[in-house]
């Protein structure tokens, strides 16, 4: 099974690599999506088409997409492989161990999610060698004592530690039954006592799959938003520094150029996000991951919605910032302060996704457009946001995005043709407001 999964990942990655290479060779072939776009939105479509074509050709995009796919594959497959790895543990048996106790040891392994294989050892010396070499995880010597390679701390929660504690209890109890004079059948009946069913008044809090989805999703949204924002910031700066913007603005209006850039990069972004999500879902289904269980799909959908809203909000901010710079060092000076709200939302959300315990401050962050793309999906994953809270936060984000877009378009128009030094925000904002 593991081999099949690894092979499947390799095949997908190789296929994508080949596809990208073929795209590289057919570099002048027009792309279908943008061709459809052009008649719909005119000059904006033309600008967007160029953005899409140039981004898809870029090595950064191709390598970045591959790395993201590999990261997603690892996040999905490794937990499954680890789960599978726990299935098989070997227990060396030195001397005699009665059939009921053997059965009990195997059953004990099953109760902690392991498949226990009993290995009969010739003598203690051979058994110790096997234990040191890791061929067995645990020795049962004469049914009276257990030997492990390394002492187990009380805080150790590894599979081996769990097995050792469980087997220690089970064999001890079995020996006690025997000492009490119970027959083998009676002892077996006691060992296999059925636990009582447990019901609950409240559903379980976010389980592993949801938390994993939230954390992996948060990392993806962070990486992707950061990447797309950087494209916009540097793309606008390069158009200004190369002075091509003068040639472009001799033919189109600033707002058309800005909207085309934002739309084009957005299309590439969502195509990439769509590809990653589709890949994740197909892979999760194929390997039997928990990703599709419980509220995890809802958390995933929420992340996608907020990726769109987050991009829509930040793209204008970064475009306006890019129009105020024309050199790399000016961009670097702006990039850090601009990324602070993203970092705040991201770090806070990662913490809460791990602890499952949001504070009031975090609830507030889920309604602020700069941090909501990270905070709200976490609340959804934790089952702490109702649909109307989600909708209210989204609506607030849309309203703020429209306001930010208007302001950014004004700043862009004022700044993009001003060269020589970095444009100060106060200068352009006062003129836009005026």
């Amino acid at each position: 099974m593991n081999l099949v999964v690894v092979l499947a990942i390799v095949v997908v990655v190789v296929a994508l690599r080949v596809w990208f290479r073929r795209r590289g060779h057919s570099i002048r072939r027009p792309l279908r999506i943008p061709v459809v776009l052009e008649p719909l939105v005119g000059d904006i479509g033309l600008v967007a088409t160029r953005e899409v074509r140039e981004r898809l050709r870029g090595k950064i995009f191709r390598v970045g997409t591959l790395l993201l796919l590999v990261a997603v594959a690892a996040a999905i497959v490794i937990p499954v492989l680890n789960r599978g790895h726990g299935h098989s543990q070997s227990v060396g048996v030195v001397g005699s161990l009665s059939a009921p106790l053997r059965t009990s040891v195997v059953a004990t392994g099953k109760s902690i999610g392991s498949t226990v294989r009993l290995v009969d050892e010739a003598n203690v010396v051979v058994a110790d060698d096997d234990l040191r070499a890791g061929r067995v995880d645990l020795l049962i010597v004469d049914g009276r004592r257990l030997v492990v390679n390394q002492a187990i701390e009380s805080t150790d929660t590894s599979k081996t530690a769990q097995l050792v504690r469980a087997v220690s209890d089970a064999v001890g109890v079995g020996q006690a039954f025997r000492a009490a004079g119970l027959s083998a059948a009676q002892a077996a009946q006691l060992v296999h006592a059925k636990p009582l069913p447990v019901t609950s008044l409240q559903p379980a809090p976010a389980e592993g799959a949801v938390r994993t989805t939230s954390v992996v999703g948060l990392i993806l949204v962070f990486v992707m938003l950061t990447q797309y924002n950087a494209w916009i910031l540097v793309g606008v700066m390069e158009e200004k520094s190369s002075r091509v913007v003068e040639v472009l603005l001799a033919a189109v209006r600033p707002v058309q150029l800005l909207a085309g850039k934002v739309l084009g990069i957005g299309l590439v972004a969502f195509a990439q996000a769509g590809l990653i999500v589709a890949f994740a879902l197909v892979l999760a289904k194929a390997v039997g991951s928990d990703l599709l269980q419980g509220t995890a799909p809802l958390a995933l959908a929420s992340l996608l919605v907020w990726l769109v809203l987050g991009y829509a909000f930040y793209c204008w901010v970064y475009a306006a910032a890019g129009s105020m710079t024309e050199r790399q060092e000016q961009v670097q000076g702006l990039a850090f302060p601009l990324s602070l709200p993203i970092l705040l939302g991201y770090v806070m959300s990662l913490t809460v996704a791990g602890s499952g315990n949001p504070s009031t401050f975090f609830d507030v962050l889920a309604y602020l457009p700069p941090t909501a793309p990270f905070a709200m999906p976490v609340l959804v994953g934790l089952g702490r946001a109702t649909w109307w809270e989600f909708a209210a936060s989204a609506a607030l984000s849309v309203v703020c995005t429209v306001a930010v877009a208007k302001l950014a378009a004004g700043i862009y128009r004022r700044s993009i043709l001003r060269t020589g030094r970095r444009v100060r925000l106060r200068e352009v904002v006062s003129r836009v407001a005026g």
Binding site: R28, R50, E54, E239, S242, R243, V247, L248, A250, L417
Partner: protein, 298 residues
């Protein structure tokens, strides 16, 4: 006002600096017009104003009598002083893209891009990135970018700077050809000899104001008479300094260039020269553009 392009009372201030000061002039169809002035005179600001790339404090740019809007600008071609192309985009695709932004259909833009690259001698670089081209070839591609949509008005800011003589000839020939095809061509340059050679008319500005405008012929034949006189063995033209109403503007390897007041009789000049030695050259000359330029700027 004369031509389809009219700049009417343009004023642009940057703080305390006045870049354009009530500047007005026009460009006729079918003319190559040289746009001259010292550094900082306001040439680039005026050219940018035609394309709406700078906000005006006052004045209007008109095309065929109507204020210029985006629809008109799409029929204009512009080559900025600081060249502007996407450095990592392929040359051919870049021209097609710019053609399409000026309203061309995709197949027409492809044909036009190919045609202009061939015409400007860079057809073999169609699939190269712009930043891999030499300075001269980038300049050719930049001109092709201004021409690809067959503009009715061509505005070029220093199109000939930094080019070798072959490239200057090629680009100059294209400008003249476009004008002959009915296009308005306005270009700025500090290479006055080239402007005199290429242009039918010139407009000279200084401190954002119009100083001189007219055809090269009119400007060359206006003003005082100019004579070039060469006297064998004479090096310092001392004979000329003795003549009233005559000033020596230049002495170049034995040839003295004289500027004569209208009242001066050229026979008297010839006699004075013959008195100094054997006269080997006595030529009436037109006023050079460089002289017009210097005189205009005082």
């Amino acid at each position: 006002m004369g031509g389809p392009l009219e700049l009417d009372a343009l004023t642009r201030r940057y703080g305390t600096v006045t870049a354009l000061d009530d500047l007005s002039f026009s460009v006729r169809a079918g003319q190559v017009v040289g746009f001259l002035g010292p550094n900082g005179a306001g040439k680039t600001t005026a050219m940018r104003a035609i394309f709406g790339l700078t906000d005006l404090d006052a004045g209007t740019v008109r095309w065929n009598g109507a204020p210029v809007e985006q629809a008109e600008r799409r029929r204009f071609g512009y080559m900025p002083e600081e060249r502007g192309l996407y450095p990592s985009m392929l040359v051919g695709e870049q021209l097609q893209y710019l053609g399409r932004l000026h309203g061309m259909r995709a197949p027409d833009a492809a044909v036009a891009a190919k045609t202009w690259l061939e015409r400007l001698g860079v057809a073999d670089r169609s699939d190269s990135k712009v930043d891999s081209l030499s300075h001269g070839n980038q300049q050719r591609v930049q001109l092709a970018a201004a021409l690809v949509h067959e503009p009715e008005l061509l505005v070029l800011d220093e199109p000939l700077s930094g080019l070798d003589p072959v490239a200057i000839d090629d680009i100059g020939a294209v400008l003249v050809e476009r004008a002959q095809a009915g296009c308005c061509v306005l270009f700025s340059s500090h290479q006055l000899d080239l402007v005199e050679h290429l242009c039918e008319a010139v407009t000279i500005i200084d401190h954002g104001r119009l100083v001189v405008a007219g055809t090269v012929d009119d400007l060359a034949t206006s003003g005082p008479c100019r004579l070039v006189v060469r006297v064998e063995g004479d090096r310092d033209a001392s004979w000329a300094h003795l003549l009233g109403g005559v000033s020596v503007s230049e002495i170049d390897r034995g040839a003295v260039r004289l500027v004569l007041d209208r009242s001066v009789d050229t026979k008297a000049v010839l006699q004075a020269a013959m008195g100094a030695g054997r006269v080997t050259e006595f030529t009436f000359e037109r006023r050079r553009l460089s002289e017009v330029f210097r005189e205009a700027l005082g």
